[in-house]
């Protein structure tokens, strides 16, 4: 039986994303058309705001001070030719990757331990909950003092940004596994290890994915602030070599306002790409949720 035939119309979009049918083309087109419209309207308002400056005699907030889309585009056109701009991308990306990977590889086992061991939970969770509300940025001064290099202190702050989110999601995900599944497995003779490997672990994968997706978003919020405060990072104070966050700060000091906006948009793009990559990986890791 072909599953597409029995799906109600509203689910066709979902189904069409997979199958190589005319539906797929149409669904794609629809999605892109909406995305294009959304960008066009956004740019239109921005352009109108920066050229008009005021409306009914009142200055338009934010936009009347902002550089126009044209000015930003021109500045961007200049910047993409400079290796220093790409150096900023590279630096920020490596920091995010390092901090994020560390957070994932420590956070996932840590969360699982809290979830399955009452002893570990009792001993560790209170301290964890006490440290969790401290914003990563509050760690910046301490981090600069603790870690031998400035690079490591930035990585550490990024690590903290993703770590708590990942742990909380893993713990919550494990708690949400249906008790009947564990009971069924126990009746059928599953050992503790077997139940952990075949039920608990796959059971928390969806929550791990949510944690990683949210976590990587937070790393981008944190990397920027950490770079601004740490003042340039590994590349020293030389121009835009301190990462995208430092690039924005430096552009502000230097008074090149279109560059600030270029930096902001660059971070937006970087974050979007990272999240999209995580979503893709997540859907690969959870085939039972994907193929409905």
């Amino acid at each position: 039986m072909n599953s597409e035939q029995i799906l109600p119309v509203s689910h066709r979009d979902l189904a069409a994303r997979r199958g190589a049918s005319p539906w797929r083309m149409l669904a794609r087109f629809r999605r892109y058309r909406r995305a294009c419209m959304s960008f066009a309207i956004f740019l239109g308002i921005w352009q109108l705001g920066t050229t008009g400056k005021s409306w009914l005699g009142h200055p338009i907030p934010i936009l009347c001070q902002a550089p126009s889309p044209g000015a930003v585009l021109a500045a961007w056109g200049q910047l993409v030719l400079e290796p220093a701009y790409w150096q900023s991308w590279y630096l920020s990306f490596t920091r995010v990757a390092l901090g994020f990977l560390a957070a994932a590889s420590v956070g996932i086992p840590f969360g699982l331990m809290i979830a399955i061991s009452p002893l570990f939970r009792g001993m560790i969770f209170p301290v964890f909950e006490l440290l969790r509300p401290i914003p990563p940025l509050a760690w910046v001064p301490a981090s600069i003092i603790f870690w031998p290099t400035q690079e490591l202190s930035i990585d550490f702050v990024i690590f903290l940004g993703a770590f708590y989110t990942i742990v909380i999601n893993v713990v919550g995900g494990a708690a949400n596994i249906d008790a009947r599944l564990i009971q069924a497995a126990r009746s059928m003779g599953g050992s503790r290890w077997n139940i952990f490997r075949r039920l608990v672990l796959p059971g928390v994968i969806p929550s791990i994915c949510v944690g990683l997706e949210t976590g990587i978003g937070i790393t981008w919020e944190v990397v920027v602030a950490a770079e601004m405060i740490s003042g340039g990072g590994a590349g020293g104070s030389g121009g835009a070599s301190g990462g995208l966050g430092f690039f924005i700060w430096n552009s502000y000091i230097g008074g090149s306002y279109p560059d600030i906006v270029v930096g902001m948009i660059s971070i937006g793009i970087a974050g979007y790409l990272s999240s999209a990559a995580m979503r893709f990986a997540a859907s690969k890791a959870t085939p039972w949720l994907r193929e409905r």
């Binding site: 599944l181 009971q183 009746s187 796959p202």
Partner: protein, 276 residues
């Protein structure tokens, strides 16, 4: 043979304790189809959890062939209300789970699983995930997952609840044939009287809280049965009315103590009396 001796189960401590089951004793005979019926919320599922070994009774003991139940066992398997299939395993992986967790040889498992998949008509769905199966297919997959362990006792806790009327009839018919082919001790929990009469050798009518056995009715209808006999046969209808009037009294008690589900039952009972 399963024997329950003076089972008492309550949750909570001291003044806040709620007694679900009190002084409940009965015997389930080997290779019989035992059906437990009672209004919603009386504690049938609690009883199931005790017999399955997921929880321990507060007082009393459960003996299986003379040995006390201390925990879950693959000779005593539960098919739960609604699906408890492992969502991240395909139908086939779900069915393989029990024997492979106990370390049986892969070749043997595959052979048994293939037979079962054929028997429950899920060969084509072997590589699909539970979420891709229809409600009826999920129930059949779960039956197969239990049956591959060849349990001495099958415990089914309202297994066909939530299915549409057509699928439910098909599943009932299907499970009745399956258990006539290979007899084993069945403990089937339901709130539906037609379902109960159709399946049962022995029907246990339970009281409202605290729960115990109100009456045991021997359903001596010839097998194989068809769902039509349950509606047309005079003897079947007499048994049904006997059970219903007992249930009605219990449902009234449940209703006066504030159970919404019981209100539905009482309304259904009135309609039935009016048409009979």
């Amino acid at each position: 043979m399963i024997e329950l001796r003076n089972i008492h189960k309550s949750y909570g401590v001291g003044r806040f304790a709620t007694t679900i089951i009190d002084d409940c004793s009965f015997v389930l005979e080997r290779n019989k189809f035992n059906v437990i019926i009672g209004p919603s919320g009386v504690g049938k599922s609690t009883l199931i959890r005790l017999i399955a070994g997921f929880e321990k009774p507060t007082r009393g003991e459960i003996l299986i062939d003379g040995r006390q139940v201390t925990g879950p066992d693959h000779n005593r398997l539960v098919v739960f209300q609604e699906s408890a299939l492992f969502p991240w395993m395909t139908t086939q992986e779900n069915i393989h789970y029990g024997p492979s967790a106990r370390g049986e040889r892969r070749g043997d498992i595959a052979a048994k699983a293939d037979l079962l998949l054929e028997k429950v008509g899920l060969r084509a769905a072997a590589r699909r995930y539970p979420a891709q199966l229809s409600g009826g297919m999920q129930r059949r997959a779960e039956l197969a997952r239990a049956l591959i362990n060849n349990p001495e006792i099958m415990i089914l806790d309202e297994p066909f609840r939530g299915l549409d009327a057509m699928t439910r009839k098909l599943m009932l018919d299907y499970y009745a044939r399956l258990s006539e082919d290979s007899p084993r001790t069945n403990l089937f929990v339901t709130t539906d009287i037609d379902e109960a009469i159709f399946l049962a050798d022995r029907l246990f009518v339970m009281t409202y809280r605290p729960m115990k056995v109100r009456a045991v009715i021997d359903v001596d209808l010839p097998r194989p049965r068809s769902l039509n006999t349950v509606f047309d046969d005079d003897h079947a209808n007499a048994l049904k009315m006997e059970a219903l009037s007992l249930l009605h009294e219990e449902a009234m008690k449940a209703f006066t103590s504030g159970s919404k589900a019981a209100a539905d039952f009482i309304e259904a009972y009135r309609k039935r009396i009016a048409t009979a």
